[in-house]
Amino acid sequence: MTASLRRPDLRATADLRPDPKPRTLSGAHILWEVLLAEGVEVVFGYPGGAIMPAYDAMASYPIHHVLVRHEQGASHMADGYARASGEVGVAIATSGPGATNLVTGLATAMLDSIPMVCITGQVPSHLLGTDAFQETDITGVTLPITKHNFLVTSADEIAETLRAAFYIARSGRPGPVVVDITKDAQQAECLYTPSEAPVCLPGYRPEPPPLERELEAALALIEQAERPVVLAGHGIVKASASAMLLEFVAKTDIPVACTLLGLGGFPASHPSALGMMGMHGEAWVNHAIQEADLLIALGMRFDDRVTGNPKTFATHAKKIHVELDPAEIGKNVPVDVALVGDVREVLNTLVPRLTARKRTAWSARVEAIRTDSLGGDIVHGQTEDQNHGLHPATVIHDLYRLTGGDAIIVTDVGQHQMWEAQYYPHDKPRTLLTSGGLGTMGFALPAAIGARFAHPDKEIWVIAGDGGFQMTAPELSTCLQEGIKLHIAIINNGFLGMVRQWQEMFYDKRYVATPMIAPDFVKLAEAHGLQGARVTDRAGVEPAVRAAQAFSGTTVIDFRVTEEACVYPMVASGRALDDMIRRPRPAAETTKTSEGDKK
C-alpha cells in the first residue's frame, strides 16, 4: 500500500517559470509549454497512437500525469479537479475511441458549467476525412456538448488555440473546450514565442453589459417584498459570492433556498438557510417558494427538477433573475427583472443600496411550515429504531457527524445523492461535488480522484450507489497507482434505487431491470490493493468510518442498507412544486398540507 500522496511535489523542486525566449519547438512541446504557462499542475489522461508525440514530450515538463483506466474517468477527474479548485481541469486522450470516451464527461461538465480543457490527438492531417484508423470527427461529435471546440492541423496554431481554449473555458459562464490536434501538428516544429497577451477572439465577449435601470427595478421589488425567498444556485459557488450573499441576507432578512449545485454556497447552519428546493427538496422549502411574493434567483437556471411544473411555479411571486448568461433569461420561467451579470458583482452593487429591514411575519411563517414538516425527518424521526435495517439516510447523516461536516463529499447519482443533499448539511462552497444537470452515474469515484489533486490534505468521501459505482469502479486501480487516500461509501441496496423508487410509485412496483447483483465490494477493494469493510447495522457505522479515517490509503465501505427505502418528499414530474409525496410519518399516513391539496 502506498501511503503518501505522490503528487505535485514536482512544483516545489523544478523551476516553473516558463522560458520567455522565442525558440523552435515541436508542436507537442509547445502544448506543454502553454499548459505550464496556464498554471496546469496535473492532467488526467490515457495515451494512444495519435497523441503519442504529446505524451513523449510530457516527460520534459513538471506536470503530473494521472493514468486513468478509461477516458471517461479522465474527463470526470478533470471535472472534479475543476469543481474542487475553481481552476481549469485538463484531460487528454487519443483519437477515435479515446476521444469518444470523453463524451459523457464533456456533457456532464457542459450542463454544470465546469471549466475544462480536453486535448485529443487526431489522425495526421493528410488522412482527415478518409475514415483512417481511429479517426473520429470529434469536433463534430462534441459540438453541442462543449462551450467551444477547435481542430488544429498545424504546429504554429497550437499555442494560440490552447490559450484561447483556457480563456474560453474559464471566462464568462465556464464550460468544457475540446482541442483536437492532428498527429503531424504535434510532430512538426515551429517557432514558439511565449505570450501573455490577451487572447484575441473577436466574437467572444464574456463580460456582461452595465445594468443601471434594471438595478433600480430590482431594488424596488426587494424593498416592497413581504415574503421574499432567495434561490441560490451554482453561480454563487462559481462567482465566490458566498460572503456577499451573507451580507445581503444580513441586511434583508430573506430566507435562502439552494439548488442541488448551490448547496454550500450559503451555510446550511445559518438561521436563514432553508435547504434544498425542488423535486426532493424539503417540504418547507418548496412551500416557502410557492407562498413567496418575490423570488430572487441568484446564479441558477430554473431547471425542471427545481421548479416542478413551471406553469404552477410560484405564481404569486415576482421574479428577479441574476444570471451571467443572457440566454438563460426567460428560458424556463418568465421573469420580471433580469440582472445579467456576475452574481458577486451584482450583489456587491445591490447591498449598499438596500435599506436594512426585518421580515418578522414572514420568518415566523417559514418557521411554522418548517416545524410542521420536521416530524417526517428521517434523522430526528422514525427510522433508526424500526428494525428495518440500516437506513441509507442515517448512514449519510452519520458520515456528517463523523466528519464534523467538514469533508468534501463527491456523490454519484440517484437516491444516495438526494439523501446526501438532505442529510449532509454543507457550510462551505465546493464541499459538495455532484453531477446535477446531466445526472451522470459513475461520476463520483473519478471526480473524487480529481478533487484529491486539488486538495491533497482534505478529507474526501465518495458516496455512491452500488449501481453507479460499478460504472467506473476500475478507477480504484488509479487510486492505488497514484497512492491517494479516499474514503468510499457505497450505499448498497441491491437495486438501481431511484429507478426502483419510480417503479414503486408510478409503475405498480414492477421492478424491471432494477435488481442488481454487485460484486463483493470488500473483495473488490482488496483485489485492487485497497482496504475494504462491510457494515450491516447502525452500530457498525462509526467503527468502520473511524478505521477508514485512520488508514493511510483508500478504503471502500460497503454499507448494506434497506432495500426499498424511498427519497421523500418527492414532486412527481409535471406536478406543482408544493404537490409533494411526503415522507410517511410513523402513523404511516401520507400527508399533504392544505396548500398542496388546493392545487
Binding site: 467551444h148 466574437g203 448568461d325
Partner: protein
Amino acid sequence: MTQPQTVEVESKRTFVVHVEDKPGVLNRVASLFRRREYNIDSLNVGRTHEVGVSRMTIVCCATPSTARRIEANLYKLVNVLRVDDITEQAQVSKNLALLKVGAGADTRPQVLQILEAVGARAVDIGPASLVAEITGTHEEIDRLREVLVPFGILEMVQTGLVAMTRAAEKPQLHTALRTATAFDAA
C-alpha cells in the same frame, strides 16, 4: 419590463448574423437551431466585402421572447461577431429563384410574356425549356410558380431570403454585447 403571463404570438423573424469566415461555423449555427428546436424557414450565407467576415440571413418563426433567446444563444457562439434582429426595421429583403420551365417553340412566347409581366426574365433558353429568374418576396415567387405550373416546371431552386436594413450606419462588428438591452426593451 416583460409581463410574464401574457401569451406571446409567433411570427416570422429575420436575423442578420455576422460570423467569422471559418470552417464549421455554419454547422455551429445550424446545430444551435436544431438542438434548441428553433425552426429555420430559410438560411442564407455568403462572404461580405470585409475579409474574414461572412453574413447570414436567417428567417425563422419565433415569439418575441424566443427571438431574444435566439439572439443571446447566437452570441454565445464564439465565432459569431454580431447579431441583429431586423424584423421591426425598415429593410430591403429579397429572394432569388430559378425555375426551369418546359417551353418549346409553341409555348415559349406565352411564358416569356408572363415573365415580363411580373418583372422576371429568362436567363437561358433551350429548344424544349427555359430557365426563368425572379427576384422578390416569397409570395411573388410563389405566384409566378403557380402560373407556370401548367407549362410544366422541371426544376426549381431558391436562395432563401437575403436582407439588409435601410439605415445609413455601418454595423459595428466588434461592439459590446447588446443582448441585455434587447431584453429590457422587450
